[in-house]
């Protein structure tokens, strides 16, 4: 790898586009070059730089599980310059992908434990990668609980997969929408994620909590987890600072002594507490 230009992306063809929610799309991407597909590997929690030639690069996680080979998936909300251009791409178009970058969720170390996933809004994608990875190696884990909330029913992403998880006996799924975001036939919870979490009151015994969501949700979720008996080293999250390069050079994701792109994006609450609050 050392003789290669680290800024050159893989060329990926968009195989499938799924509209997840208003403004939110999932791309299934396949390598243009067969060799790349074979040599490429990643782990749960890693991210990449997705690009449209002539527009630029944008950072998001790999939303598919490393246990599903041959393709990667990403889910993004149309918001800025690059995601707006990505949103206009069609099936069959070629996009760029650099990665995988960053550290991973320590799934190996979590063997034999229960997992509690807490996600809000568009933050389910980074979690989905871990969820499927855990479900595909279900025997390694005890209880799996997912608490997922969004602004409204419409804003919930991966609706088919939510249905699938709900129907599985080995997963406990709690979905919630913000007050006012429900529809007449909504059967899930109504309320913000931290409150629903408190109400659900999952056991903290031998359990790892993985939290991902907007800063405000994270802020109110940590105290609830602590109340439920989770210790700092058993709470994990993934940060989303603004990034450009993905490997600790361009400087913008620098928080204290870490580069979120290289030393993160996965941090335990214990590690997070040592960082200045610049994320």
């Amino acid at each position: 790898m050392s003789n290669q230009n680290i800024y050159i992306p893989y060329l990926m063809r968009i195989e499938k586009i799924t509209l997840e929610a208003p403004g939110v799309k999932t791309f299934r991407l396949k390598f243009e070059n067969e060799e790349d597909a074979e040599t490429f590997s990643f782990k749960a929690g890693q991210f990449g730089e997705y690009s449209i030639m002539g527009v630029g690069e944008s950072t998001f996680c790999i939303a598919s599980s490393p246990t599903r080979k041959g393709y990667i998936e990403c889910t993004f909300r149309q918001a800025g310059k690059v995601t707006s251009a990505l949103a206009l791409a069609e099936e069959g178009d070629v996009v760029g992908f650099r990665g995988p970058y960053g550290n991973t969720f320590p799934l190996d170390a979590w063997k034999g434990k229960s997992l509690l996933f807490i996600a809000g809004g568009i933050a389910l994608p980074p979690m989905r990668c871990v969820i499927w990875n855990a479900l595909d190696t279900r025997e390694n884990f005890k209880d799996i609980t997912i608490v997922y909330g969004a602004k409204s029913v419409d804003d919930l992403v991966y609706k088919d997969e939510l249905a699938e998880w709900r129907s599985r006996p080995d997963v406990k799924l709690v979905t919630t929408v913000d007050p006012g975001g429900e529809t007449p036939d909504w059967k899930g919870e109504i309320g913000f994620v931290p409150m629903v979490l408190e109400k659900t009151a999952p056991s903290s015994e031998n359990t790892i909590a993985i939290v991902c969501g907007p800063p405000i949700m994270i802020k109110f979720t940590f105290p609830v987890l602590e109340k439920l008996g989770f210790t700092e080293e058993n709470i994990y999250t993934t940060l989303e600072n603004r990034m450009k390069c993905g490997f600790g050079k361009c400087g913008r994701c620098n928080v204290g002594e870490v580069y979120v792109c290289k030393d993160g994006p996965v941090f335990s609450y214990e590690q997070l507490k040592l960082l200045p609050a610049e994320y």
Binding site: Q4, N5, I6, I8, G54, V94, E257, E278
Partner: protein, 335 residues
Amino acid sequence: MQTENYLIRKPSLEKLFNDLIGGGKTIYAPKAKGDLALFSDVKTYSDITEDYIVTANSAKLVVFPRTEKLFSYHKSKEKTEITDAAGSTFPDVVLWGTRPCDAAAFIPLTDTFNGDYKDIIFNNRRERVFLISFSCSRSDEYCFCTSVNSGPGNTSGSDILFTKLSGGDYLAEVITPKGQLLVSENSDLFETKSEEDKEQQLAVVATRFNQVEIQAKLQNLFENPVWDDKSRACLGCGSCAYVCPVCSCFDIQDEAHGNKGTRLRCWDSCGFGLFTLHTSGHNPRETQGARWRQRILHKFLYVPNKSKIAGCVGCGRCSRSCPADINILDTLTSL
């Protein structure tokens, strides 16, 4: 390697310059522009100015240009083709007239672009750069190289260091094998000289602070009024970062013309509010004070904690160029 000392007569400098130009080298040297001296592509020896403490711009531009191609692409309905810019021919550059601080800056700069991920575009450029530095006989109130482990006659980073002697000739300290090669190729210009009488020719730069102490202090200074106080006059421009020989934050941008285009890297600065702004509107570094803190902490805490040396070489450019006279020494010495 062991530093070897030679003597080079004043007229031979011009000969050396012309030989290098004749040999196809691109030479960047200080050229006067109004009151400033700027590292510029120089073809004629007489265009070089000697009247400068440091140049206004920094020498990093030869290894880390303000804008450079990472690759170019060509898109068609069937295919997207990428042309790697790392494969292009990079010029053989001689930096002529760098100061010891400029040369020292190449060390942290090279560190940043290497490590786990090696930036071969940077390395390709770096390998082709030859540094002919000149010791400082003058300094001003902005200089503080001696506080960051350097000095007016420091050799690190340079291939050859010239020091003007009292008679007008120059002491040539040859520091690297690359430098030795140049000497052997131009052996008629270099005379053997063993005794070293360099110190008395050098500028006196007082030590203004102890870097290790500063580093220790900064460890617990994240929340402190000093950051807002010292940056109050900040205008939020990027001149401090852009003239800094060590600052290497960058942006990656695409530029398209029809179905062709370029992905390029260009300078960026932590002083800009947009640097860390998320698309959502959330900004981890909301105020100019937080940005100034990042600049200081990065150079004097985060970098030295990792690699022992500071992310600053004490050239004072940032303070000189600041339109609001925000002085880095002033901040550091008031901690």
